[in-house]
């Protein structure tokens, strides 16, 4: 059920973001609202439910690019697994650690996206830049904090058992 909640929320947030990005004329950077959902799913859901939610968020982002390639679903699931692994050793019940995880996940996601885009591009590395990543990390972390009350509403009643692939 939460999978559908995550998917609907991601669809709504991406629609809103695409309009806001257009309205304010963001040229250099974007806000990865979907990643905050992926991080939350990694920290609070069961493995299957969280992975499905992450895949769905990535799939939606892929569709929104206009040229779906499969890159973003794969990266979303990869980020999900990495955050889940790190979540075993860090207490993530409060806002602070969540913000930290969102920041690190955004940076990692951006670097991986640039790397894979470079890997499959004929133009080589010169056209892809990481200069916008710091701003992207800040904006996504702030967006994650703003979404925190909303995310708490779709939190499961019981926390999953500890373990990486539980």
């Amino acid at each position: 059920m939460r999978f559908f909640a995550f998917s609907l929320l991601a669809l709504l947030l991406l629609s809103v973001e695409s309009v806001l990005v257009k309205t304010f004329g963001f040229e250099v950077t974007r806000i990865d609202v979907g990643l905050a959902l992926v991080v939350y799913a990694a920290l609070r859901c069961t493995t299957v439910e969280g992975a499905l939610s992450a895949f769905s968020v990535g799939y939606l982002l892929d569709v929104f690019t206009g040229r779906p390639t499969g890159l973003y679903p794969a990266l979303a699931v990869l980020v999900f697994l990495l955050v889940r692994g790190a979540g075993v050793v860090v207490d993530t019940r409060s806002r602070g650690p969540f913000a930290l995880f969102v920041a690190v996940a955004t940076a990692g996601h951006a670097v991986l996206a640039v790397f894979f885009t470079w890997l499959t591009s004929a133009e080589g590395g010169q056209v892809f830049s990481l200069s916008a990543v710091p701003l992207q990390v800040i904006l996504t972390t702030l967006a994650g904090q703003a979404m925190w009350p909303l995310l708490k509403k779709i939190e499961p009643g019981e926390r999953p058992e500890p373990g990486l692939l539980r």
Partner: protein, 273 residues
Amino acid sequence: MVGTLLLAPLISYLTTGHRGREPNFIDRAVLFISAPLQAVLTSSIETVGEVGGGYLALRGAHQEAQICRVGLAEAHAELNALREAEAENARLKSLLDYVEDTVDQEIVARVIGLNPSPQFQSIRINRGEDDGVRFGMPVVTAEGAVGHVIRSVSGSADVMLLTDPQSHIGGVIERTRVRVTISGAGGGRPLSLDLVRREDDLKDGDVVVTAGSDGIFPRGVRVGVVRTPERPSVSMFLKATLEPSVELNRVEEVLVIPVTMGIPSPLGLGGKR
């Protein structure tokens, strides 16, 4: 299952690369839901902006009206001169038996969203297959070229901007008629001019228009203005950037030109992507 969710899209990406895929049932459902939502949000924001802007615009409206009257009179004079020139042009063309390329009526579309991923530079417009928008059609504004359609579904379409790193179009320097290739360099960066020979004449401020040789744009659409041309000491080619004529991330309304000029669909489906 988690492994499948990770590996299936990754393998798909690594094998098909940047080509993308035909929109499937789920893609169409997502676009069917999200496009109207984006349109409503865009209209709401614009309405709020217009109400606020309308109040501010009232201040000094009298002076502005005076300026507009003068401008209108000048425009009328210019229009009359252009009508005469057009009539003369038509007479001369008929003398030369020149056949005008006929193009169907352009499709006016409103931009309802900007792609939220920084790796791809694209916009979404509120016209799609139902309105005759097809894969490969060029998209312009009155100021110049914007990009071309990369996906069209029933009620919306996505347009790859000129600034996308995968965008390459043919251009001509208006002053010297030197042919160039215009490539996107990613968000926030100007376009780059490629394959301009060292000995060619290129100056800061030169206007570049489309060459009509790329299978996307018709000839003569303004693309931008040359900035900072350099002659590297060891290269065969000049280095220069191009400032786009259109502010691509702030464009609100566009025209889709209903010609595809033979550009193939990535999946060979006759351009109806």
